[in-house]
């Protein structure tokens, strides 16, 4: 974001895969709007390309991918690659919910999605409050992936 621009953060959110768990998606929408963001909600049953096209169309600052049924692992692998390919590599990328199937240690899940190019991973965290705090931090500092890559 350009310093001093009065523009609200622009976010694309949605649920990935054939998942139609909509309750968390609706709560996220309200929570992000309440914190001052402009939300473009793709709602349920999305493919990675839907998120990336929407990010391009809306000139998004960040993309929040949700998965409740665990399909996230299957769909998220090339998310960052897709965004970069369309010239949107700077977009912040977050994932949350029950992002993998079965019971796996949180550190392992986080490392997996960090490897896919996600900035932050919120596996089985019921309150989105922490993610919103992180979002505003990252909006100031830019993607954590790039920081890590150049460090």
């Amino acid at each position: 974001m350009t310093a001093g621009a009065p523009r609200r953060p622009r976010l694309v959110i949605g649920v990935i895969g054939d998942d139609i768990h909509v309750v968390g998606n609706r709560i996220m929408h309200l929570a992000l709007e309440e914190s001052g963001c402009q939300v473009f909600n793709l709602r349920t049953r999305n493919r990675p390309e839907h998120f990336c096209q929407a990010a391009l169309e809306t000139n998004a600052d960040a993309v929040f991918v949700s998965s409740l049924n665990g399909e996230g692992e299957y769909w998220c692998a090339d998310f960052r690659h897709r965004l970069t390919a369309m010239g949107m590599g700077q977009v912040l990328l977050y994932v949350g919910g029950n992002v993998v199937v079965g019971n796996r240690p949180e550190a392992e899940v986080e490392a997996l999605f960090r490897g896919y190019g996600f900035d932050r991973v919120y596996h089985q965290r019921p309150d989105i409050g922490a993610a919103i705090v992180d979002l505003f931090e990252d909006l100031k500092n830019g993607t954590t992936q790039r920081i890590r890559a150049t460090a």
Binding site: V23, I27, A31, R45
Partner: protein
């Protein structure tokens, strides 16, 4: 402007019906043969006769569906022995979405491997001839529980199997269950279902229809649920359905449950009579808590007992019960049978039917009645040649807005939260046409809550998780 009318009745069903029944899995269903088969069933298999004969307490219905025939037979017998008044047949989700090939393959795999690959009974895959065998000698009604936008073939197979209570409707089985099924098509397919139910009915033994009032079961304001229930009763009556149950899910507020039952009963009767459907037999069904259930079994049991008590207080015609394993998955037959017994015990020991009243209940009922009248009045005033078209317009305009519906075309403008009594309040009506005065009352009641969170989403999360 299109008001409900008998002139909307489908008279040219034959071609469409021949097409539906030409499906290989219809296995040559012949309506004449089915009619003769239905005539052999005892009276007790027909819900309207059971409702007419019930005593002081609500009738009890569990839920249940498993893939294999033998397991479904065992479940049916277990539930019947446990004292269930209605026997459920819950359908798997592939069949609900018309994916009969997948359901058939997974049924085969379940049979071969001895474990369940389906979350219900694949009725279309099993077919009517086999399914009739589930209910030989049974002297209570069987209820089809599903969630199917296009239920034409499923219902043909169900009735041919001797199942004469059909749950669902064009709104209530689309908006909570489907992300993308076009609502106008769904309304038309449910006209077909309603008409087929009417065609198989006799004056003494009608095929019974029931609507699904809980909807998304997540902070749905009762006025929205009631408007949808009444619309579906009217759409069914247009097609000649003679016995219909409206329903609603436990709201989480004792006061709001009592008020909702009172208003729903009164207004459903009122509108059926107003549009010339005075002969339709009406009943009221209460669903035990349909939202997030406690995982702790003691709490789940307490919730089940508490809602059974409310069902008695509101004198519901039927209560649909949950089990202590609700939060964990599909219950075993023994757990399901225990739930029936618990509810029966509460209804017997705390028999409480009769008028219960208080100024708070009175205020709630007055508010809800006014809201439902406003919403329905606005729908009746919309353009359309026939009533279903006005209903579809109402959905497009956001007049009917179901919170937490997964449907892509749902307006999602309405925001609801709980007040200090746990009653569900409308904090922002969106495009739902309630009066300014009622909207102000809703907000006033909401703001009176002392322990509100400053953040809407935090409050909503707490309100959704009320019973956990």
């Amino acid at each position: 402007m299109a008001r409900p009318s008998v002139s909307a009745r489908l008279h040219d069903l034959e071609r469409q019906r021949a097409q539906v029944l030409s499906h290989p899995l219809a296995r040559g269903i012949a309506p004449d043969e089915v009619q003769r088969f239905l005539a052999t069933l005892p009276d007790q298999r027909f819900p309207s006769l059971c409702y007419a004969a019930r005593g002081a307490t609500p009738l009890i219905q569990p839920r249940g569906g498993v893939p294999l025939f033998e397991d479904q037979l065992a479940l049916t017998q277990a539930l019947s022995s446990a004292g269930a008044d209605f026997i459920p047949l819950t359908i798997d989700s592939y069949t609900r979405h018309n994916q009969y090939d997948t359901a058939t393959q997974l049924l085969k795999r379940s049979e071969e491997e001895g474990r369940s690959y389906l979350n219900g009974y694949p009725l279309v895959s099993h077919g009517h001839e086999l399914t009739r065998q589930l209910y030989v000698g049974l002297d209570k009604p069987v209820s089809l529980r599903h969630g199917t936008p296009d239920a034409r073939l499923l219902v043909e197979v169900a009735i041919a199997s001797g199942i004469v209570e059909i749950e669902g409707g064009g709104l209530c089985y689309c908006l909570p269950y489907s992300e993308g099924f076009p609502l106008d098509r769904c309304l038309l397919y449910w006209q077909y279902v309603d008409r087929v139910c009417a065609l198989y009915s006799t004056p003494q033994r009608p095929v019974h229809r029931e609507s699904f009032g809980p909807l998304s079961a997540t902070l749905v304001p009762p006025a929205i649920a009631m408007a949808i229930e009444i619309v579906e009763a009217l759409l069914a009556a247009e097609q000649g359905v003679a016995s219909f149950a409206v329903s609603f899910g436990q709201t989480g507020s004792f006061i709001q449950d009592v008020a909702t039952a009172r208003v729903l009963r009164k207004l459903a009767r009122h509108y059926l009579d107003e549009f010339g459907f005075g002969s339709v037999r009406l009943s009221l069904v209460y669903h035990q808590w349909m939202g997030q259930f406690p995982a702790q079994r003691e709490r789940a049991a307490a919730l089940i007992a508490g809602s059974a008590l409310i069902a008695g207080v509101i004198d519901a015609d039927k209560i649909v019960v949950k089990t202590v394993d609700e939060a964990l998955g599909i219950p075993r037959p023994s757990v399901n049978a225990e739930a029936v017994d618990t509810v029966r015990y509460v209804l017997r020991t705390f028999s409480a039917a009769g008028a219960i009243d208080s100024p708070t209940i009175e205020l709630e009922a007055t508010l809800l009645e006014s809201e439902v009248r406003s919403i329905l009045g606005a729908i009746f005033a919309l353009s359309g040649d026939v009533f279903w078209e006005s209903v579809y317009r109402a959905f497009q305009l956001g007049y009917l807005d179901v919170p937490f519906s997964p449907h892509a075309d749902n307006a999602n403008k309405l925001v609801s939260m709980r007040d200090g009594n746990h009653s569900i309040r409308i904090s922002d009506a969106g495009q739902v046409p309630i009066s300014a005065a009622d909207a102000a009352t809703e907000r006033r009641l909401l703001e009176a809550r002392a322990d509100r969170s400053d953040l809407t989403y935090r409050q909503m999360l707490a309100d959704i998780s009320l019973m956990v």
